[in-house]
Subunit: 352 residues, 4 copies
């Protein structure tokens, strides 16, 4: 089975390459009569646009979302919603010197090994540009969740080793790093500028919190809510680790510390991250993802070419220094898609 | 879509509850002519049997695997392989006092919220006993991988805060914790006995390494190899975190440190954990999972009952102190299942 | 993807061979709190038992359904329902002379071509015995449909060239052919006895009618209700043709004859067979299937053996003369499974 | 699960409405390095273009296929192939009088019942225009089959009651009905003109033959080759019946007539239509589909409007008199898609 679909009932299928004619997504399974227009999608897409900061790529795609099908007079019709984003500012010439080189940390070498052919322009299908299609789908998922008063927050809790201590949600929108800690945001800025100067790149950690999801979402024993969140988030290119609730800290705790005591008013703690035995328990759902540094750096690196000869390369293209904060809305979107899917799945078996 | 199947081409569907008539798995998609008999499955199942140590449950299930279909004269036939394990030593009486209580850290409360009915005997479907079916399927997956000389190692790298420093694979089979560090194993033993005395429980970290997998496994952009590993492993009850390669450490690294330089003889480092852009790169695949402490403890805990009244409980049943090391072979099995599935998927598109 | 699962939300996976340890089915996606016990399943299974008539095989399986999981105190729990039927009266010796022969009209030759190995005992996986698992699943589907007051009738409208003219539903249960026309049933009996004497076999046509299904079931453009019915019914071994409503007669009609006029009280005719554009229209759903004659006959036939040498064979085993009427409940079951699946699917997107 | 995808490994997902911005298909699972350009797709699409005959709609869509992704320098890359066809000649005004009417024989009434909202312009998603996306996908499937020397023929064997007696494949391309019998084609022409004069419409029967498919395709017990063909073909709007090989005639035959004798050189007859127990047997695969008359007729019909009031309507739009012969290439495409899918599935389990 091919791998470009995600979800079962709210099912998305993405297509497109970085420098081809465009990218897009077909959403099959969106219920009818959900309010949907291009502005709703655009406002989500705008969160992943570059250009706000020195850390960002200089590629300037307008990234205009076009709804090609599935909506009529501002409402979904129950038929597939296809959203397309045309590629306008692709500059393939910058990639010509790389056409026969495998960039370290990128998928160049594995795509070639797997398919025996490779669209090297801008990283082809393996480009982070593919995530714009996920965000477009995420906007539709969010429109469904809105009906159920479910809200998702994605914010930066670590960047280049700088950790956020506070969790001030109001602060998130005020700084360019979507960081819930104003002091940490300032240190992050200093760190980014320093790394940029050296031609290097950095990683970090994004935390995603879901508020308003009732209990009962998740389909044991394999399509558990945490399992599907893990898959959805790990499928984002730069992600190398996932935690639910206490996560890796749970490995160090005693059972008496890690269990969340239950009271008539709810749980006293939330080490579970809102999920027990793969099913949401009504508490906040808490997930964290580890984001690796952007592999494209101008520092010289060792690699090979298509004929396996040793080469060096230094990448001068238009690249971000960090996937954060542009990746945050991608994480938010994947979580929205997983929740919308599980909402419909739970709905299916709720016979009256 | 219901959630008790995993995989696409090598597809497993598990069934059964802890104290029902039995548990089992249907494997659909196993190629024909793979050598298979009950001994092959049994030897894998025996790795998750309790009783080797004070840390383990006293439930003594013989766990005899019966191949009900799909094999003929010692070979698979290409038809579904159903493997059944009957429940013999279920003691539901011990659970009667818990029938109306929601055990903290367990799925009791979420199963009730989701389904409105609950087989409370032994945790029902949410019991760790369900993982025996995964291990039976893992044995079949391993039989396929064997044909391709792919081997999987799962071992304990942290238990109750005690970390393994060495990675001596020969040592793994010599100690009861499947730990690759003899010194650490001794400290783990001390730690476990201490915790047991206090009626508490502990968690830890399991590392899984795959040797011999060639490049090309994984189906971007959603069914990436790391994404499917994350889902498979996160779907195991006690797992709360997943890392690939450098994992959460990658979030702290510079791009110049994290990128694995490429030479004609392979990669110089393996921060990628053997996976680039969701496709295996031919290097060792490295995954780690965070395992939470067993939630059943004899220390008194706060909870509620079915009518939402505040209650306390202290669990005296036959429980493990730690999911490790019995969970190790479950992790190994899930990794084997993911790899077997991706091997067949890659095979499908390899037209000659 | 392997092919032993059917349905998406009410998803069944069957396993087992004719002369192996047993056969069975895992039903994943059955909603919780549906009344279910072994008697409900048994009464459906009893409809496909042989022995009522000279036309039937002499194999006498008690076919006792055992619910292995998914039900607790007479109700489904939302977890997988596994139903098993053990093989008790398998007589493999009768098949030994056939072990190296490919029976004409059977799957012997194609299973060997596909899998390179073959469980020749009783036809293995290709045996009609496999359909008992479908009937067990059909009983569970029917239990769901019952909640919605949906009822399915399957009856014989043609056997060995003898056609039923009447559609007297009360008559169906009164004759051994499940024929809605008492006169035709008598002629069918005569025809069957005549064919039996000559060592030959016959086919016929089964009609299935669904009453009580509301409008809105079916998922265009591929999982249309008629498309899924066609697949489910065509997947039954002996079926070679499917018609919905007017079926092949529609090919001969004018548009003005074939269109069903719409009035405030419903449709004036039902050439559509209750399905328009793949979605149920609230009228009776009408399907017919063409059933080929049983391929096992005692008349001598030409065939080859495993080494491709020309051979003849005459099959003397315990075989039916016609798949009808035992196949009727199998058709009924597949229709029930398709409807239960589409009911849940429609439920999923019915947000309030 | 939504219903706009078909296939498992060669998986297509179609999108689009008759009068929206366009229609299209994402093909996920197309192997890499298959030669593919827009001309290959266009030549297949041109077979379903109207305008060759009085029987056809006057809507003149150029139907230019645009490959949006998945191909690079004339070859597929293994990533999703998205093919788009823009809507250029949509005239929604003609449909305005029908906006509140349910056309008999159309999906208007069932789409409204299911979704509670309806894009009435040109039939929306239920329009036959949707099949252009299937044909685009069929062209890609055919490109894969070409590598294996598999060829598919779809031709008209009955139209408005006129039957083709001959099966002269060379004749098929010579007449406007794709009929393998020159005499019958002449009679069909007369019949069509006569029906057109009366403002009525007619149906017919299409036969599809596959040559060159080896044995072993099909995945019992549900995804049998005939079952998937039945589903794929029944999912085409106008199809009301399916037959494999002898089909409904098999219901009238004796076993001794219907069984195909086997010789070292192959089967002596082909009542099986090339499929035994759901697996191809290496003989020609033969399928027939019953096509209902086009429901849009200018003869006055009885119907209701959105408020359930009795109304009459007479449809004057640009409509075909018969779905045949434009539907022929749609049937051919669905068969190609099923075969490509099963080819990859069989490939997956063919371990060396």
């Amino acid at each position: 089975m091919p791998g470009n679909s995600f979800g079962t009932f709210f099912k998305i299928t993405t297509w497109g390459e970085s420098h081809g004619r465009g990218i897009g997504v077909v959403i099959d399974g969106c219920p009818s009569k959900i309010p949907l227009d291009e502005e709703i999608i655009q406002s989500m897409l705008d969160k992943r646009r570059p250009g706000k900061f020195a850390a960002s790529t200089k590629r300037k795609e307008p990234d205009r979302a076009i709804i090609m099908s599935g909506a009529f007079e501002g409402m979904t019709t129950g038929t597939p919603v296809m959203i397309m984003i045309e590629n306008k500012d692709a500059d393939s010439k910058a990639y010509e010197p790389l056409a026969d080189l495998f960039r370290p940390g990128h998928g160049d070498i594995t795509y070639m090994a797997k398919y025996g052919i490779r669209d090297w322009r801008g990283g082809g299908r393996a480009s982070a540009r593919e995530t714009a299609a996920r965000v477009a789908a995420g906007a539709v998922a969010a429109a469904i969740l809105k009906k159920e008063n479910i809200k998702i927050y994605a914010y930066t809790v670590e960047l280049g080793g700088v950790k956020a201590k506070a969790r001030d949600f109001d602060e998130v929108g005020r700084n360019i790093f979507f960081c819930p800690d104003a002091d940490a945001a300032k240190k992050m800025e200093k760190r980014v500028l320093d790394v940029k100067k050296r031609g290097d790149s950095i990683g970090g950690i994004v935390e995603i919190v879901v508020k308003g999801a009732g209990p009962g979402l998740g389909e044991p024993v394999f399509d558990k809510l945490d399992a599907d969140l893990a898959k959805g988030l790990m499928s984002i290119g730069a992600v190398k680790g996932i935690e639910i609730g206490a996560g890796f800290d749970a490995a160090k705790k005693l059972g008496s510390e890690n269990n969340d005591p239950i009271t008539p008013d709810g749980f006293l703690t939330n080490n579970a991250g809102g999920i027990l035995a793969g099913i949401s328990n009504g508490d906040e759902i808490v997930v964290r993802v580890a984001v690796k540094p952007i592999p494209s750096i101008s520092i010289e690196q060792q690699t090979i070419d298509g004929s396996k000869a040793q080469r060096t390369l230094s990448i001068k293209g238009r690249h971000d220094i960090a996937a954060i904060p542009r990746i945050n809305v991608v994480c938010e979107s994947m979580v929205a898609i997983v929740l919308a899917d599980h909402l419909l799945r739970q709905n299916a078996v709720s016979l009256t």
